[in-house]
Protein backbone atom coordinates (compact mmCIF):
# COMPACT_ATOMS: atom_id res chain seq x y z
CA UNK A 1 0.00 0.00 0.00
CA UNK A 2 1.40 3.37 -0.90
CA UNK A 3 1.74 6.15 1.65
CA UNK A 4 -1.01 8.08 -0.03
CA UNK A 5 -3.56 5.41 0.75
CA UNK A 6 -3.05 5.88 4.49
CA UNK A 7 -5.43 8.10 6.41
CA UNK A 8 -3.72 11.41 6.92
CA UNK A 9 -1.76 11.49 3.67
CA UNK A 10 -2.09 14.37 1.18
CA UNK A 11 -5.58 15.37 0.17
CA UNK A 12 -7.06 14.08 -3.07
CA UNK A 13 -6.04 16.63 -5.66
CA UNK A 14 -6.76 16.56 -9.33
CA UNK A 15 -3.81 17.10 -11.63
CA UNK A 16 -5.78 19.84 -13.35
CA UNK A 17 -6.06 23.18 -11.62
CA UNK A 18 -9.64 23.73 -10.40
CA UNK A 19 -11.69 26.00 -12.71
CA UNK A 20 -12.46 29.60 -11.86
CA UNK A 21 -16.09 28.85 -11.11
CA UNK A 22 -14.99 26.49 -8.35
CA UNK A 23 -12.44 28.91 -6.88
CA UNK A 24 -14.96 31.76 -6.75
CA UNK A 25 -17.67 29.59 -5.28
CA UNK A 26 -15.22 28.46 -2.65
CA UNK A 27 -14.15 32.02 -1.81
CA UNK A 28 -17.68 33.37 -1.57
CA UNK A 29 -19.21 30.49 0.37
CA UNK A 30 -16.34 30.28 2.83
CA UNK A 31 -16.32 34.05 3.34
CA UNK A 32 -20.05 34.08 4.09
CA UNK A 33 -19.72 31.17 6.51
CA UNK A 34 -16.80 32.87 8.26
CA UNK A 35 -18.90 36.00 8.71
CA UNK A 36 -21.86 34.00 10.02
CA UNK A 37 -19.67 32.12 12.51
CA UNK A 38 -17.74 35.15 13.72
CA UNK A 39 -20.63 37.61 14.07
CA UNK A 40 -21.73 36.54 17.58
CA UNK A 41 -18.13 36.07 18.65
CA UNK A 42 -17.37 39.64 17.63
CA UNK A 43 -20.47 40.95 19.41
CA UNK A 44 -19.50 39.03 22.54
CA UNK A 45 -15.93 40.33 22.63
CA UNK A 46 -16.64 43.95 21.64
CA UNK A 47 -19.67 44.38 23.91
CA UNK A 48 -17.82 42.98 26.89
CA UNK A 49 -15.42 45.92 26.61
CA UNK A 50 -18.10 48.62 26.60
CA UNK A 51 -19.46 50.59 29.56
CA UNK A 52 -23.10 49.91 30.49
CA UNK A 53 -24.56 53.03 28.85
CA UNK A 54 -23.04 52.02 25.50
CA UNK A 55 -24.65 48.58 25.47
CA UNK A 56 -28.00 50.02 26.56
CA UNK A 57 -28.18 52.44 23.64
CA UNK A 58 -27.89 51.80 19.92
CA UNK A 59 -25.46 49.09 18.93
CA UNK A 60 -22.03 50.34 17.86
CA UNK A 61 -19.75 48.26 15.65
CA UNK A 62 -16.63 49.93 17.04
CA UNK A 63 -16.79 50.67 20.79
CA UNK A 64 -16.41 54.40 21.42
CA UNK A 65 -15.09 53.83 24.95
CA UNK A 66 -13.13 50.86 26.12
CA UNK A 67 -13.33 49.54 29.65
CA UNK A 68 -12.34 46.40 31.51
CA UNK A 69 -14.84 47.11 34.29
CA UNK A 70 -17.32 44.40 33.21
CA UNK A 71 -14.64 41.77 33.82
CA UNK A 72 -14.31 42.93 37.42
CA UNK A 73 -18.04 43.41 37.98
CA UNK A 74 -19.19 39.97 36.79
CA UNK A 75 -17.89 38.35 39.97
CA UNK A 76 -19.88 40.77 42.15
CA UNK A 77 -23.25 40.86 40.38
CA UNK A 78 -23.78 37.12 40.71
CA UNK A 79 -21.64 34.57 42.60
CA UNK A 80 -19.98 33.56 39.34
CA UNK A 81 -16.96 31.99 41.06
CA UNK A 82 -19.22 29.56 42.92
CA UNK A 83 -21.02 28.63 39.71
CA UNK A 84 -17.66 28.13 38.07
CA UNK A 85 -16.51 25.75 40.79
CA UNK A 86 -19.79 23.83 40.58
CA UNK A 87 -19.51 23.50 36.82
CA UNK A 88 -15.91 22.35 36.97
CA UNK A 89 -16.61 19.77 39.66
CA UNK A 90 -19.75 18.46 37.97
CA UNK A 91 -18.40 18.38 34.42
CA UNK A 92 -14.99 17.07 35.51
CA UNK A 93 -16.35 14.23 37.62
CA UNK A 94 -18.98 13.33 35.02
CA UNK A 95 -16.28 13.18 32.33
CA UNK A 96 -13.87 10.99 34.28
CA UNK A 97 -16.58 8.56 35.37
CA UNK A 98 -18.27 8.45 31.98
CA UNK A 99 -15.02 7.71 30.16
CA UNK A 100 -14.11 4.97 32.65
CA UNK A 101 -17.51 3.30 32.41
CA UNK A 102 -17.51 3.62 28.61
CA UNK A 103 -14.03 2.09 28.28
CA UNK A 104 -15.07 -1.04 30.19
CA UNK A 105 -18.34 -1.39 28.31
CA UNK A 106 -16.76 -0.81 24.91
CA UNK A 107 -14.04 -3.36 25.71
CA UNK A 108 -16.69 -5.97 26.47
CA UNK A 109 -18.65 -5.19 23.31
CA UNK A 110 -15.60 -5.07 21.08
CA UNK A 111 -13.68 -8.11 22.37
CA UNK A 112 -16.22 -10.61 23.65
CA UNK A 113 -19.09 -12.55 22.17
CA UNK A 114 -21.86 -12.86 24.75
CA UNK A 115 -25.59 -13.25 25.01
CA UNK A 116 -27.59 -10.04 24.92
CA UNK A 117 -24.87 -8.02 23.21
CA UNK A 118 -27.15 -6.74 20.46
CA UNK A 119 -29.93 -5.94 22.91
CA UNK A 120 -27.47 -3.96 25.00
CA UNK A 121 -26.04 -1.88 22.16
CA UNK A 122 -29.40 -1.17 20.57
CA UNK A 123 -31.00 -0.21 23.89
CA UNK A 124 -28.15 2.06 24.89
CA UNK A 125 -28.07 3.79 21.53
CA UNK A 126 -31.80 4.25 21.40
CA UNK A 127 -31.74 6.15 24.69
CA UNK A 128 -30.08 8.88 22.63
CA UNK A 129 -33.36 9.60 20.95
CA UNK A 130 -35.50 9.86 24.07
CA UNK A 131 -36.70 13.36 24.59
CA UNK A 132 -34.99 14.68 27.73
CA UNK A 133 -38.33 15.96 28.87
CA UNK A 134 -39.72 12.39 29.07
CA UNK A 135 -37.35 11.30 31.79
CA UNK A 136 -36.89 14.68 33.46
CA UNK A 137 -40.16 14.39 35.37
CA UNK A 138 -39.71 10.76 36.54
CA UNK A 139 -36.04 11.30 37.35
CA UNK A 140 -37.01 14.31 39.40
CA UNK A 141 -39.46 12.10 41.35
CA UNK A 142 -36.94 9.24 41.67
CA UNK A 143 -34.28 11.53 43.11
CA UNK A 144 -36.75 13.15 45.50
CA UNK A 145 -38.01 9.73 46.61
CA UNK A 146 -34.52 8.25 47.02
CA UNK A 147 -33.75 11.28 49.15
CA UNK A 148 -36.83 10.77 51.30
CA UNK A 149 -36.20 7.06 51.70
CA UNK A 150 -32.46 6.96 52.31
CA UNK A 151 -31.41 10.49 53.14
CA UNK A 152 -29.11 10.38 50.12
CA UNK A 153 -29.42 13.86 48.68
CA UNK A 154 -29.45 13.34 44.93
CA UNK A 155 -31.94 16.05 44.14
CA UNK A 156 -30.36 19.46 44.18
CA UNK A 157 -26.87 18.11 44.86
CA UNK A 158 -23.78 17.97 42.71
CA UNK A 159 -23.75 14.17 42.99
CA UNK A 160 -27.20 13.91 41.45
CA UNK A 161 -26.17 16.11 38.56
CA UNK A 162 -22.93 14.17 38.04
CA UNK A 163 -24.86 10.92 37.93
CA UNK A 164 -27.29 12.37 35.40
CA UNK A 165 -24.73 13.93 33.10
CA UNK A 166 -22.45 10.96 33.02
CA UNK A 167 -25.20 8.88 31.47
CA UNK A 168 -25.92 11.56 28.87
CA UNK A 169 -22.61 11.07 27.13
CA UNK A 170 -22.43 7.33 27.79
CA UNK A 171 -24.30 5.98 24.73
CA UNK A 172 -22.31 8.00 22.22
CA UNK A 173 -19.04 7.26 24.08
CA UNK A 174 -19.62 3.51 24.13
CA UNK A 175 -20.57 3.52 20.47
CA UNK A 176 -17.55 5.54 19.39
CA UNK A 177 -15.06 3.65 21.57
CA UNK A 178 -16.37 0.28 20.38
CA UNK A 179 -15.66 1.36 16.83
CA UNK A 180 -12.23 2.56 17.87
CA UNK A 181 -11.36 -0.62 19.77
CA UNK A 182 -12.50 -2.68 16.78
CA UNK A 183 -9.91 -0.91 14.67
CA UNK A 184 -7.09 -2.00 17.02
CA UNK A 185 -5.65 -5.35 15.87
CA UNK A 186 -6.60 -8.20 18.19
CA UNK A 187 -3.08 -9.62 17.87
CA UNK A 188 -1.94 -6.85 20.21
CA UNK A 189 -4.01 -7.94 23.19
CA UNK A 190 -3.54 -11.61 22.34
CA UNK A 191 0.20 -11.04 22.59
CA UNK A 192 -0.20 -9.33 25.94
CA UNK A 193 -2.28 -12.25 27.19
CA UNK A 194 0.41 -14.70 26.12
CA UNK A 195 2.82 -12.62 28.18
CA UNK A 196 0.63 -13.35 31.17
CA UNK A 197 -1.63 -10.31 31.32
CA UNK A 198 -5.23 -10.87 32.46
CA UNK A 199 -8.00 -9.38 30.34
CA UNK A 200 -8.27 -6.24 32.48
CA UNK A 201 -4.51 -5.75 32.49
CA UNK A 202 -4.45 -6.20 28.72
CA UNK A 203 -7.10 -3.51 28.46
CA UNK A 204 -5.01 -0.99 30.36
CA UNK A 205 -1.60 -2.01 29.03
CA UNK A 206 -2.50 -2.37 25.36
CA UNK A 207 -5.92 -1.14 24.33
CA UNK A 208 -6.18 2.09 26.30
CA UNK A 209 -2.80 3.45 25.13
CA UNK A 210 -3.54 2.46 21.53
CA UNK A 211 -6.99 4.07 21.66
CA UNK A 212 -5.82 7.38 23.13
CA UNK A 213 -7.24 9.58 20.34
CA UNK A 214 -10.62 7.91 20.69
CA UNK A 215 -10.57 8.28 24.46
CA UNK A 216 -9.61 11.95 24.24
CA UNK A 217 -12.41 12.52 21.73
CA UNK A 218 -14.93 10.87 24.02
CA UNK A 219 -13.69 12.87 27.01
CA UNK A 220 -14.09 16.15 25.12
CA UNK A 221 -17.57 15.16 24.12
CA UNK A 222 -18.51 14.20 27.69
CA UNK A 223 -17.09 17.40 29.15
CA UNK A 224 -18.84 19.63 26.65
CA UNK A 225 -22.12 17.83 27.15
CA UNK A 226 -21.98 18.36 30.91
CA UNK A 227 -20.65 21.93 30.69
CA UNK A 228 -23.42 23.06 28.36
CA UNK A 229 -26.51 21.26 29.66
CA UNK A 230 -29.36 23.57 30.68
CA UNK A 231 -32.62 21.62 31.14
CA UNK A 232 -31.66 19.35 34.03
CA UNK A 233 -29.43 21.99 35.59
CA UNK A 234 -32.37 24.38 35.77
CA UNK A 235 -34.55 21.89 37.61
CA UNK A 236 -32.06 19.89 39.66
CA UNK A 237 -29.86 22.55 41.24
CA UNK A 238 -30.39 24.97 44.09
CA UNK A 239 -28.64 28.16 45.16
CA UNK A 240 -25.51 26.40 46.36
CA UNK A 241 -25.13 23.89 43.54
CA UNK A 242 -26.11 26.11 40.62
CA UNK A 243 -23.93 25.63 37.55
CA UNK A 244 -22.89 28.22 34.97
CA UNK A 245 -25.61 27.07 32.57
CA UNK A 246 -28.27 28.44 34.90
CA UNK A 247 -26.19 31.00 36.75
CA UNK A 248 -25.41 33.01 33.65
CA UNK A 249 -29.07 33.81 33.28
CA UNK A 250 -28.79 35.68 36.56
CA UNK A 251 -27.58 38.76 34.69
CA UNK A 252 -30.30 38.51 32.09
CA UNK A 253 -33.38 38.07 34.24
CA UNK A 254 -32.89 41.03 36.54
CA UNK A 255 -34.76 44.25 35.78
CA UNK A 256 -31.73 45.94 34.36
CA UNK A 257 -29.89 43.65 32.02
CA UNK A 258 -26.16 44.26 32.31
CA UNK A 259 -25.45 43.22 28.74
CA UNK A 260 -21.77 44.11 28.92
CA UNK A 261 -21.40 41.87 31.96
CA UNK A 262 -23.46 39.12 30.34
CA UNK A 263 -21.08 39.19 27.38
CA UNK A 264 -17.99 39.30 29.59
CA UNK A 265 -19.23 36.38 31.67
CA UNK A 266 -20.16 34.41 28.53
CA UNK A 267 -16.66 34.94 27.22
CA UNK A 268 -15.03 33.94 30.49
CA UNK A 269 -17.02 30.70 30.75
CA UNK A 270 -16.42 29.88 27.09
CA UNK A 271 -12.69 30.40 26.89
CA UNK A 272 -11.62 27.25 28.78
CA UNK A 273 -13.91 24.93 26.78
CA UNK A 274 -13.27 26.50 23.41
CA UNK A 275 -9.51 26.58 23.92
CA UNK A 276 -9.46 22.98 25.11
CA UNK A 277 -11.67 21.90 22.26
CA UNK A 278 -9.69 23.63 19.56
CA UNK A 279 -6.43 22.21 20.92
CA UNK A 280 -7.82 18.70 20.95
CA UNK A 281 -10.12 18.85 17.92
CA UNK A 282 -7.87 16.74 15.70
CA UNK A 283 -8.52 13.85 18.08
CA UNK A 284 -12.24 14.35 17.68
CA UNK A 285 -11.99 14.20 13.90
CA UNK A 286 -9.70 11.16 14.14
CA UNK A 287 -12.02 9.50 16.64
CA UNK A 288 -15.07 10.17 14.47
CA UNK A 289 -13.29 8.87 11.38
CA UNK A 290 -12.25 5.62 13.02
CA UNK A 291 -15.21 5.07 15.27
CA UNK A 292 -18.48 6.49 14.12
CA UNK A 293 -18.12 6.77 10.40
CA UNK A 294 -17.80 3.35 8.91
Amino acid sequence: MSDAAHGRAPRPRSPMAPPRSFLWTRRIVLALLTGFVLLPVYVMVSSSLKPLEDVSGKFEWIPSTFTLRPYADIWETVPLADYFVNSIVVAGAATVLSVAVAVFAAYAVSRYAFRGKRVFTVTVLSTQMFPGILFLLPLFLIYVNIGNATGLALFGSREGLILTYLTFSLPFSIWMLTGYFDSIPRELDEAAKVDGCGPVKALFRVIVPAARPGIVAVAIYAFMTAWGEVLFASVMTNDTTRTLAVGLQGYATQNDVYWNQVMAASLVVSVPVVAGFLLLQRYLVAGLTAGAVK
Partner: protein, 330 residues
Protein backbone atom coordinates in the same frame (compact mmCIF):
# COMPACT_ATOMS: atom_id res chain seq x y z
CA UNK B 1 -15.64 -11.32 16.45
CA UNK B 2 -14.20 -14.57 15.12
CA UNK B 3 -10.88 -14.22 16.88
CA UNK B 4 -12.30 -14.08 20.39
CA UNK B 5 -12.98 -17.80 20.15
CA UNK B 6 -9.24 -18.42 20.03
CA UNK B 7 -8.60 -16.87 23.41
CA UNK B 8 -9.98 -19.48 25.83
CA UNK B 9 -8.24 -22.29 23.96
CA UNK B 10 -4.84 -20.71 24.27
CA UNK B 11 -5.20 -19.59 27.87
CA UNK B 12 -5.26 -22.98 29.67
CA UNK B 13 -2.07 -24.05 27.93
CA UNK B 14 -0.28 -21.16 29.56
CA UNK B 15 -1.87 -21.72 32.92
CA UNK B 16 -0.96 -25.42 32.96
CA UNK B 17 2.57 -24.49 33.83
CA UNK B 18 1.44 -23.36 37.26
CA UNK B 19 0.61 -25.94 39.94
CA UNK B 20 -3.09 -26.85 40.23
CA UNK B 21 -3.54 -25.87 36.62
CA UNK B 22 -6.71 -27.80 35.81
CA UNK B 23 -8.81 -26.27 38.57
CA UNK B 24 -7.66 -22.75 37.81
CA UNK B 25 -8.45 -23.25 34.18
CA UNK B 26 -12.01 -24.30 34.92
CA UNK B 27 -12.57 -21.46 37.29
CA UNK B 28 -11.08 -18.99 34.89
CA UNK B 29 -13.40 -20.37 32.23
CA UNK B 30 -16.42 -19.49 34.35
CA UNK B 31 -14.93 -16.14 35.20
CA UNK B 32 -14.33 -15.56 31.52
CA UNK B 33 -18.02 -16.11 30.88
CA UNK B 34 -18.97 -13.57 33.53
CA UNK B 35 -16.32 -11.06 32.58
CA UNK B 36 -18.12 -9.24 29.75
CA UNK B 37 -21.15 -8.81 31.99
CA UNK B 38 -19.00 -7.47 34.82
CA UNK B 39 -17.45 -4.97 32.42
CA UNK B 40 -20.90 -3.90 31.29
CA UNK B 41 -22.40 -3.72 34.76
CA UNK B 42 -21.62 -0.07 35.59
CA UNK B 43 -22.93 1.14 32.25
CA UNK B 44 -25.99 -1.04 32.59
CA UNK B 45 -26.83 0.14 36.12
CA UNK B 46 -26.44 3.78 35.17
CA UNK B 47 -28.56 3.42 32.06
CA UNK B 48 -31.22 1.68 34.11
CA UNK B 49 -31.25 4.34 36.81
CA UNK B 50 -31.20 7.43 34.65
CA UNK B 51 -32.78 6.37 31.37
CA UNK B 52 -34.71 3.12 31.36
CA UNK B 53 -36.45 3.09 34.74
CA UNK B 54 -37.47 6.76 34.46
CA UNK B 55 -38.76 6.10 30.97
CA UNK B 56 -40.90 3.19 32.13
CA UNK B 57 -42.02 5.29 35.06
CA UNK B 58 -42.92 8.06 32.69
CA UNK B 59 -45.10 5.65 30.74
CA UNK B 60 -46.80 4.50 33.96
CA UNK B 61 -47.25 8.11 35.08
CA UNK B 62 -49.02 8.96 31.86
CA UNK B 63 -51.86 6.68 32.97
CA UNK B 64 -52.19 8.38 36.36
CA UNK B 65 -53.84 11.47 37.65
CA UNK B 66 -50.56 12.79 38.95
CA UNK B 67 -51.13 16.29 40.23
CA UNK B 68 -49.11 18.27 42.76
CA UNK B 69 -50.78 16.53 45.71
CA UNK B 70 -49.10 13.26 44.81
CA UNK B 71 -45.54 14.46 44.07
CA UNK B 72 -44.23 13.09 47.38
CA UNK B 73 -45.81 9.71 46.82
CA UNK B 74 -46.44 9.28 43.15
CA UNK B 75 -47.46 5.64 43.43
CA UNK B 76 -50.52 6.66 45.43
CA UNK B 77 -51.91 8.78 42.61
CA UNK B 78 -55.18 7.35 41.26
CA UNK B 79 -55.23 5.64 37.87
CA UNK B 80 -56.94 7.63 35.20
CA UNK B 81 -56.88 5.26 32.25
CA UNK B 82 -56.43 7.08 28.98
CA UNK B 83 -57.68 10.42 30.31
CA UNK B 84 -54.30 12.15 29.98
CA UNK B 85 -54.00 11.01 26.39
CA UNK B 86 -57.49 12.05 25.43
CA UNK B 87 -56.90 15.48 26.98
CA UNK B 88 -53.65 15.84 25.05
CA UNK B 89 -55.20 14.69 21.79
CA UNK B 90 -58.49 16.59 22.06
CA UNK B 91 -57.71 19.16 19.42
CA UNK B 92 -60.94 21.07 19.97
CA UNK B 93 -60.02 22.00 23.53
CA UNK B 94 -57.30 24.43 24.57
CA UNK B 95 -54.71 21.90 25.80
CA UNK B 96 -54.81 19.69 22.73
CA UNK B 97 -54.99 22.60 20.36
CA UNK B 98 -51.88 24.27 21.71
CA UNK B 99 -50.05 20.91 21.74
CA UNK B 100 -50.92 20.35 18.09
CA UNK B 101 -49.83 23.87 17.22
CA UNK B 102 -46.52 23.36 19.03
CA UNK B 103 -46.03 20.01 17.29
CA UNK B 104 -46.58 21.50 13.84
CA UNK B 105 -44.25 24.41 14.61
CA UNK B 106 -41.60 21.93 15.73
CA UNK B 107 -41.97 19.88 12.53
CA UNK B 108 -41.59 22.95 10.35
CA UNK B 109 -38.66 24.20 12.39
CA UNK B 110 -36.90 20.83 12.34
CA UNK B 111 -37.18 20.34 8.58
CA UNK B 112 -35.75 23.80 7.90
CA UNK B 113 -33.01 23.59 10.53
CA UNK B 114 -31.82 20.08 9.60
CA UNK B 115 -31.87 20.95 5.90
CA UNK B 116 -29.83 24.10 6.36
CA UNK B 117 -27.38 22.50 8.81
CA UNK B 118 -26.77 19.66 6.40
CA UNK B 119 -26.38 22.00 3.43
CA UNK B 120 -23.92 24.36 5.11
CA UNK B 121 -21.95 21.53 6.72
CA UNK B 122 -21.62 19.58 3.48
CA UNK B 123 -20.74 22.66 1.43
CA UNK B 124 -18.02 23.69 3.87
CA UNK B 125 -16.56 20.20 4.17
CA UNK B 126 -16.47 19.64 0.40
CA UNK B 127 -14.98 23.07 -0.29
CA UNK B 128 -12.32 22.48 2.35
CA UNK B 129 -11.44 19.02 1.05
CA UNK B 130 -8.54 20.17 -1.11
CA UNK B 131 -5.56 21.82 0.46
CA UNK B 132 -5.11 25.56 0.06
CA UNK B 133 -3.74 28.39 2.11
CA UNK B 134 -5.85 29.13 5.18
CA UNK B 135 -7.64 25.78 5.11
CA UNK B 136 -6.50 24.78 8.61
CA UNK B 137 -7.54 28.10 10.11
CA UNK B 138 -11.01 27.95 8.57
CA UNK B 139 -11.47 24.35 9.66
CA UNK B 140 -10.77 25.31 13.26
CA UNK B 141 -12.84 28.47 13.05
CA UNK B 142 -15.92 26.65 11.77
CA UNK B 143 -15.91 24.43 14.84
CA UNK B 144 -16.16 27.37 17.24
CA UNK B 145 -20.00 27.41 17.40
CA UNK B 146 -19.91 23.71 18.26
CA UNK B 147 -17.37 24.27 21.00
CA UNK B 148 -19.07 27.27 22.63
CA UNK B 149 -21.36 26.31 25.52
CA UNK B 150 -24.96 26.55 24.29
CA UNK B 151 -26.06 29.08 26.88
CA UNK B 152 -23.17 31.47 26.25
CA UNK B 153 -23.77 31.42 22.50
CA UNK B 154 -27.54 31.70 22.75
CA UNK B 155 -27.40 34.56 25.26
CA UNK B 156 -25.19 36.44 22.80
CA UNK B 157 -27.76 35.88 20.07
CA UNK B 158 -30.49 37.06 22.45
CA UNK B 159 -28.51 40.29 22.86
CA UNK B 160 -28.10 40.63 19.10
CA UNK B 161 -31.87 40.24 18.65
CA UNK B 162 -32.77 42.95 21.20
CA UNK B 163 -35.13 45.47 19.68
CA UNK B 164 -33.49 48.70 20.80
CA UNK B 165 -29.84 47.90 21.38
CA UNK B 166 -29.24 44.78 19.31
CA UNK B 167 -27.00 44.36 16.29
CA UNK B 168 -29.63 42.84 13.99
CA UNK B 169 -31.96 45.84 14.13
CA UNK B 170 -29.01 48.21 13.93
CA UNK B 171 -27.99 46.64 10.63
CA UNK B 172 -31.45 46.04 9.18
CA UNK B 173 -33.18 49.23 10.29
CA UNK B 174 -30.50 51.85 10.92
CA UNK B 175 -27.96 50.88 8.29
CA UNK B 176 -30.03 49.24 5.53
CA UNK B 177 -33.24 51.16 6.21
CA UNK B 178 -35.55 48.14 6.12
CA UNK B 179 -38.93 48.61 7.83
CA UNK B 180 -40.53 51.72 9.31
CA UNK B 181 -39.66 50.91 12.88
CA UNK B 182 -37.26 48.39 14.45
CA UNK B 183 -38.80 44.92 14.52
CA UNK B 184 -39.32 42.71 17.54
CA UNK B 185 -37.37 39.48 17.16
CA UNK B 186 -37.91 37.66 20.43
CA UNK B 187 -41.68 38.03 20.56
CA UNK B 188 -44.30 37.60 17.84
CA UNK B 189 -43.95 35.85 14.51
CA UNK B 190 -40.34 36.88 13.89
CA UNK B 191 -39.22 34.74 16.81
CA UNK B 192 -39.49 31.63 14.61
CA UNK B 193 -36.81 32.98 12.26
CA UNK B 194 -34.65 34.16 15.13
CA UNK B 195 -34.77 30.69 16.65
CA UNK B 196 -34.00 29.10 13.29
CA UNK B 197 -30.95 31.33 12.77
CA UNK B 198 -29.55 30.44 16.20
CA UNK B 199 -30.28 26.75 15.73
CA UNK B 200 -28.53 26.61 12.35
CA UNK B 201 -25.57 28.62 13.63
CA UNK B 202 -25.23 26.19 16.52
CA UNK B 203 -25.94 22.99 14.57
CA UNK B 204 -24.16 23.17 11.23
CA UNK B 205 -20.61 22.65 12.58
CA UNK B 206 -21.60 19.16 13.73
CA UNK B 207 -22.68 18.33 10.18
CA UNK B 208 -19.41 19.83 8.96
CA UNK B 209 -17.37 17.72 11.40
CA UNK B 210 -19.16 14.51 10.47
CA UNK B 211 -19.00 15.04 6.72
CA UNK B 212 -15.33 15.97 7.05
CA UNK B 213 -14.65 12.69 8.82
CA UNK B 214 -16.63 10.86 6.14
CA UNK B 215 -14.60 12.47 3.35
CA UNK B 216 -11.38 11.01 4.73
CA UNK B 217 -12.63 7.53 3.95
CA UNK B 218 -13.01 8.14 0.21
CA UNK B 219 -10.05 6.49 -1.52
CA UNK B 220 -7.86 8.92 -3.38
CA UNK B 221 -7.59 6.60 -6.37
CA UNK B 222 -11.20 7.31 -7.26
CA UNK B 223 -10.41 10.97 -7.83
CA UNK B 224 -7.27 10.14 -9.75
CA UNK B 225 -9.13 7.78 -12.03
CA UNK B 226 -11.87 10.34 -12.60
CA UNK B 227 -9.31 13.05 -13.36
CA UNK B 228 -7.64 10.77 -15.91
CA UNK B 229 -11.02 10.34 -17.55
CA UNK B 230 -11.21 14.09 -17.82
CA UNK B 231 -13.77 14.78 -15.08
CA UNK B 232 -13.41 18.28 -13.61
CA UNK B 233 -13.87 19.30 -9.98
CA UNK B 234 -17.62 19.80 -10.22
CA UNK B 235 -18.12 16.41 -11.85
CA UNK B 236 -15.91 14.74 -9.24
CA UNK B 237 -17.96 16.30 -6.44
CA UNK B 238 -21.23 15.23 -8.02
CA UNK B 239 -20.24 11.72 -9.05
CA UNK B 240 -17.71 10.68 -6.40
CA UNK B 241 -17.88 12.85 -3.28
CA UNK B 242 -21.62 13.14 -2.78
CA UNK B 243 -22.49 9.49 -3.55
CA UNK B 244 -19.70 8.31 -1.21
CA UNK B 245 -21.26 10.29 1.63
CA UNK B 246 -24.49 8.31 1.48
CA UNK B 247 -23.96 6.19 4.58
CA UNK B 248 -22.57 9.12 6.57
CA UNK B 249 -25.58 11.18 5.61
CA UNK B 250 -27.95 8.43 6.66
CA UNK B 251 -26.73 8.62 10.25
CA UNK B 252 -26.10 12.36 10.23
CA UNK B 253 -29.58 13.38 9.12
CA UNK B 254 -31.19 11.08 11.68
CA UNK B 255 -29.06 12.40 14.53
CA UNK B 256 -29.66 16.01 13.50
CA UNK B 257 -33.38 15.34 13.26
CA UNK B 258 -33.60 13.82 16.75
CA UNK B 259 -31.49 16.54 18.35
CA UNK B 260 -33.37 19.37 16.70
CA UNK B 261 -36.80 17.94 17.35
CA UNK B 262 -35.98 17.47 21.04
CA UNK B 263 -34.10 20.73 21.39
CA UNK B 264 -34.88 22.45 24.65
CA UNK B 265 -31.76 24.46 25.43
CA UNK B 266 -31.90 26.89 22.52
CA UNK B 267 -35.47 28.19 22.94
CA UNK B 268 -35.19 28.05 26.73
CA UNK B 269 -32.16 30.33 26.83
CA UNK B 270 -33.30 32.52 23.94
CA UNK B 271 -36.82 33.25 25.21
CA UNK B 272 -36.75 32.32 28.88
CA UNK B 273 -39.42 30.09 30.40
CA UNK B 274 -42.23 31.17 28.10
CA UNK B 275 -41.55 30.96 24.39
CA UNK B 276 -43.65 33.04 21.99
CA UNK B 277 -46.28 30.97 20.22
CA UNK B 278 -44.51 31.11 16.87
CA UNK B 279 -41.39 29.47 18.34
CA UNK B 280 -42.98 27.20 20.93
CA UNK B 281 -40.98 24.00 20.40
CA UNK B 282 -42.50 20.83 21.78
CA UNK B 283 -39.97 20.11 24.55
CA UNK B 284 -40.35 23.58 26.00
CA UNK B 285 -44.10 23.33 25.59
CA UNK B 286 -44.28 20.11 27.62
CA UNK B 287 -41.88 21.47 30.24
CA UNK B 288 -43.94 24.58 30.64
CA UNK B 289 -47.29 22.85 30.85
CA UNK B 290 -45.88 20.33 33.35
CA UNK B 291 -44.16 22.68 35.74
CA UNK B 292 -46.67 25.50 35.48
CA UNK B 293 -49.63 23.34 36.44
CA UNK B 294 -47.61 20.64 38.25
CA UNK B 295 -49.71 18.19 36.32
CA UNK B 296 -47.07 15.55 35.66
CA UNK B 297 -49.62 13.02 34.40
CA UNK B 298 -50.61 15.03 31.36
CA UNK B 299 -47.00 16.11 30.84
CA UNK B 300 -45.94 12.47 30.79
CA UNK B 301 -48.69 11.55 28.34
CA UNK B 302 -47.47 14.28 26.01
CA UNK B 303 -43.89 13.02 26.35
CA UNK B 304 -44.98 9.46 25.58
CA UNK B 305 -46.81 10.67 22.48
CA UNK B 306 -43.66 12.51 21.45
CA UNK B 307 -41.57 9.37 21.96
CA UNK B 308 -44.01 7.29 19.90
CA UNK B 309 -43.79 9.81 17.10
CA UNK B 310 -39.98 9.79 17.17
CA UNK B 311 -39.91 5.97 17.21
CA UNK B 312 -42.25 5.87 14.23
CA UNK B 313 -40.25 8.38 12.23
CA UNK B 314 -36.93 6.68 13.06
CA UNK B 315 -38.29 3.25 12.14
CA UNK B 316 -39.74 4.37 8.83
CA UNK B 317 -36.60 6.37 8.05
CA UNK B 318 -34.25 3.45 8.71
CA UNK B 319 -36.48 1.11 6.73
CA UNK B 320 -36.57 3.43 3.72
CA UNK B 321 -32.89 4.40 3.72
CA UNK B 322 -31.44 0.93 4.28
CA UNK B 323 -33.69 -0.65 1.68
CA UNK B 324 -32.78 2.03 -0.82
CA UNK B 325 -29.11 1.44 -0.11
CA UNK B 326 -29.31 -2.33 -0.50
CA UNK B 327 -30.93 -2.17 -3.92
CA UNK B 328 -28.43 0.38 -5.13
CA UNK B 329 -25.53 -1.75 -3.90
CA UNK B 330 -26.65 -4.85 -5.77
Amino acid sequence: MTQTAVTPAREPAVRKATPGGARTARRSGRRRLALPYLLLLPALLLELLVHLVPMLMGIVMSFKELTQFYIRDWAAAPWSGLDNFSVSLDFDAAVGQSLLKSFLTTCQFTVLSVGLCWLLGTAAAVLLQENFRGRGVLRTLFLVPYALPVYAAVITWAFMFQRDNGLINHVLHDQLGIGDSPAFWLIGDNSFWALLAVSVWKGWPFAFLTVMAGLQNIPREMYEAAALDGAGVWKQIRHITLPSLRSVNQVLVLVLFLWTFNDFNTPFVLFGEAAPEAADLISLHIYQSSFQTWNFGTGSAMSVLLLLFLLLVTGVYLLLTTRGRKTSDV
